[in-house]
Symmetry: none
Subunit: 200 residues, 4 copies
DNA sequence: AATGAATGAGTATTCATTCAT
DNA sequence: TATGAATGAATACTCATTCAT
């Protein structure tokens, strides 16, 4: 049953008995793994390796893989929302707003492709896991309310969807996307609603 | 409580030796399974059960699970594109266009929530599988070129992103989304670019 | 859906540093767990939870799980024997004896189904663990010698086996067992050996 | 990730692709393992090794470990009952009956200590698993009805319990048990009920 | 051509036990 | 002295894939 005739020590991982923040490190590693391998391939083993913790550590700190995923996603959404809010804090004029939204799409607002990829993983996971719905709902509520500080609800919904779609296409596209064009699209979405022929 | 033991198949499925469309049926079943369980949980076994074919049949008809997935996604994208094109065939006026795009978002254009869910599964899968990139690229190229029959490239990119984002939010949202508002958003995106400063 | 995550204990149990009877409480909890979940599912964690002591406390007080089990079983056997002896202390007549044995079978002698279930767990465990054999032997010796105060060794062995078998059947049976019938069976086992052929 | 620098072949188990009766062999091996290690230590691995089949074979043939256990127990109970019935088939006189029951207790009736140990494992398992209750009930019904061909129901219940208890004590006892004494006990249990003082 | 049987690699999870604090 | 944190070994189970029939 035991064929291992080699030397006793295989990989004498440095004993690291005391390690506060380990749970946090595992969560960060989970996001890394999700970003790199997708939620479908996010296993305890992969995360443990990424966080450099023993496998047994995983379910010690997190009841289950589903739990780990949920907590990691919650953390990510929380951070995305905070970044989002911070990013719009300095917006004063309509021009600022256009620029801020354009930044968002082009990864110049504190959230890069990796962050958005994680977000999309979250969306898809939420489609089937009701526990995650609450995370996506909260995230969308927050991003929407940031925008509503500047524009009406309809425009806000439009902008929000626009960002979502532009980012997704940008991430999926193999060709670079023109920042100028993005700015133009955002600007158009923000044009004040023309007083429809009312004057006529 | 559960007497149904032993190897996988208990019910001795009627032998169906001659079955020319089997491969097609498997592909359709694959899409069903992806829609219902997500790409991550799409297994040979699940698909075989859904298609009512023996397990051994799976790798007989498809080299591997990855291959099966790719073919199924290709089929789906192909169908989505065809539907998309057909849907815009009758568009004559700007009003028609607004209505057509709104239909698209609200599932009244031949593609329902299930279809879009599969599309999002494809997008995410494509993020990591280069073989699928070609499928998404082709699909996006086609949808874009349909729109470009009516509007300039920038507006087309905007519209495309808008649809993507609106649908995703609609699918994820627990509350119903107003069709009127969607129409309004689409209409705004289609407003002709104001010849700036002309009015002055 | 389940927010109770993180390491095992969420509720910060009040520190109970001084707790002299802790070992005893753990033993009692062990018996509870054995009765409810069976010896096979008796884990440190389960017992710790049942006794409301920290996990680390388990191996602090008991060398190992096997040790804990053995001590718990010893305690139980001891108590069963004492109960047994007490129960027969008041027996004066043959009629008393029949009644006492019947009580034993029907759980009216200080030992209920739970106690017997634990006893059977012990028997089976003893079948494979020599350390437990001494416990069962002692218990059987004592029960036998109680009976021998009233009847000859052969009858005592018969009675003892009878009780064992009747109780086991009673515990396993889904239908209630008639006390009258039990009494009849016991009474027959106690009939004085007919001076054979004397009647002829 | 792969530290195994040793030679490629570890243990080139002879490929045995085709193997009908494998399921049966696994069931028999399961009974062996239960008898030797107890139900608590009956693992897929142990059984697979005992049956000389690969681990993956276990859940291919049996939905779960619980299922495997249940089927093995069912098989055992079935066989025990058949043996029991066969053993009493030749009984003609009261003397035959005494001898037959005595044989039963002393392992001279086709069921040895191992068989009885398995039976006790079954009893205990049935205490907690309702699915097994049906197996024990059927087994007890059959043994009871065999005895009822010769004696009244009360005596039958007594005999049955007696056998159960005597065997259990015999198995647990470290000292040999006298066959003569067993025979005496059985004989007493079979004495016709004295016409209670009716004649007086 | 078609498939049921088979299997090895991998998965999440549990848990007795150790030990730094 | 007591314990929360930690971990490696083991567990049941899943599944893509292979292949004899």
């Amino acid at each position: 049953m035991d064929d291992d005739t080699g030397p006793v020590t295989t990989v004498p991982r440095p004993v690291r008995r005391y390690d506060p923040q380990r749970a946090e490190r595992i969560l960060e590693a989970t996001l890394d793994v999700i970003a790199e391998h997708g939620v479908a391939n996010t296993t305890h083993r992969l995360v443990a390796a990424a966080a450099d913790v023993p496998l047994g550590s995983m379910t010690y700190h997190f009841r289950s893989l589903a739990d780990l995923r949920a907590q990691a996603f919650r953390r990510h959404a929380e951070r995305m929302a905070a970044t989002y809010e911070a990013h719009f804090r300095g917006v004063r004029s309509a021009g600022d707003l256009v620029e801020a939204v354009t930044d968002l799409v082009h990864g110049d607002a504190g959230a890069d492709d990796r962050d958005w990829a994680i977000a999309y993983e979250l969306y898809l996971a939420a489609l089937r896991d009701p526990a995650l719905r609450e995370v996506t709902e909260s995230w969308m509520r927050r991003s929407r309310s940031v925008l509503e500080r500047f524009v009406d609800p309809t425009t806000s919904r439009a902008l929000d969807a626009l960002v979502e779609g532009l980012v997704m296409h940008k991430i999926l596209s193999t060709r670079p996307v023109s920042r100028a064009q993005t700015r133009e699209i955002v600007a158009r979405a923000l044009r004040p609603t023309a007083p429809r022929e009312t004057s006529a």
